[in-house]
């Protein structure tokens, strides 16, 4: 066991856990932040996506011991970011969500895309969102919402 000081959504949090524990389980079990979802557990579906040091990261495969001092942003904290707020608004406006299970990961990946590419092409969206699966197949509405959010950003 080891103790880690993590910056999660701008707050310093301290957890004591096994170094090999994936970040996902630290967020969900230790910090009780259940917005980030467990999907496949092997980084194949994207449901567990959070931002670590500004990079969309599959939290189910990254041990907490490898986070170091990089700030973590989860779905609970993305709304305070202007891009995150624009994406959340577009998600509501386009009524993207069906069952909703994958959507926190979808939003985190979409925000990462728009921060680098504010006006993404269809190819940009296909490539950046290709690792986020949705069994309800909301992909068409996700694409619309990403473009809509991009258009709202200055």
């Amino acid at each position: 066991m080891a103790t880690y000081r993590l910056n999660v959504n701008g707050r310093q949090r301290e957890v004591t856990t096994d170094p090999s524990t994936p970040l996902l389980w630290v967020l969900r079990e230790d910090l009780k932040m259940t917005g980030t979802k467990y999907g496949c557990g092997v980084s194949a579906c994207g449901a567990c996506t959070v931002h670590v040091g500004g990079v969309a990261t599959r939290s189910c495969v990254v041990p907490v011991s490898m986070i170091d001092d990089r700030p973590i942003v989860t779905i609970e904290g993305i709304g305070v970011d202007p891009v995150g707020r624009a994406v959340q608004n577009a998600w509501i406006d386009k009524d993207v969500v069906q069952c909703g299970y994958c959507q926190s990961g979808q939003i985190m990946s979409a925000v990462a895309l728009l921060k680098h590419t504010p006006k993404p092409t269809d190819l940009n969206i296909d490539e950046s969102m290709g690792g986020n699966l949705c069994r309800c197949a909301t992909y068409v509405r996700i694409r619309e919402a990403i473009k809509s959010a991009g258009n709202q950003l200055k």
Binding site: S43, R58, C60, A110, E127
Partner: protein, 205 residues
């Protein structure tokens, strides 16, 4: 006494003559350098490592990396991206960290990325290029970040991702990933012999 002086003079003359011969012909130096034949043999050793999955999986000619000993396309729709590090939202570092994560089976190392397309060692159908072609690509300074022989040797000796091939960590099922056919020391030695032999390349058959 005069016989001793005569013998000394004779030995000195022979020594001077030998030194002059060596300087003008380079015989002694050549004897220490690997021949072109030895260089080609060393290259084949190097090639056997470069085309092992731990190395060639990230030297693709396509828009994606490969994984596994069967060199299948990387799962999760991972793509190369403009800087060979994936794309925003799906970067290499979205999963691959600074070291292997043996608890989750994800390999990692410093600056995890694909080799640039200029350093592809496969064709577009994911077949490894021939020994002659990889040899030419490897030593082409317009394609290899302007590395000369000593630079290539240093790269093979010190680059973190080269070292990773001999410390590839565990697969998600807990088993160890396979290693290249030579040890890292043997690989560096073979590279050194190839470089010292003038980096000869096999001719295309």
């Amino acid at each position: 006494m005069s016989r001793i002086r005569s013998l000394t003079l004779t030995i000195s003359a022979v020594t001077i003559a030998y030194v002059c011969f060596v300087i003008t012909t380079g015989t002694a130096t050549r004897a220490e350098e690997p021949s072109a034949m030895q260089g080609l043999a060393a290259w084949q050793q190097v090639y056997s490592v470069l085309t092992h999955p731990r190395c060639i999986n990230c030297h693709t000619a396509t828009s994606y990396p490969q994984q596994g000993d069967d060199r299948h396309r990387h799962f999760a729709n991972v793509v190369r991206g403009p800087a060979n590090t994936g794309v925003p939202g799906l970067n290499c570092s979205s999963c691959h960290q600074k070291a292997n994560a043996d608890s989750t089976g994800v390999p990692g190392g410093h600056n995890w990325h694909l080799a640039p397309l200029s350093m592809k060692w496969q064709d577009e159908n994911d077949r490894p290029l021939s020994s002659a072609m990889v040899c030419r690509v490897l030593k082409d300074r317009s394609k290899n970040h302007n590395l000369d022989g000593p630079g290539l040797l240093k790269h093979h000796e010190e680059e973190a991702l080269v070292h990773w091939a001999w410390n590839p960590g565990r697969r998600p099922d807990g088993s160890m990933r396979t290693l290249p056919p030579l040890t890292h020391e043997q690989f560096v030695l073979a590279t050194r012999q190839w470089v010292e032999a003038g980096m000869p390349c096999p001719t295309e058959r």
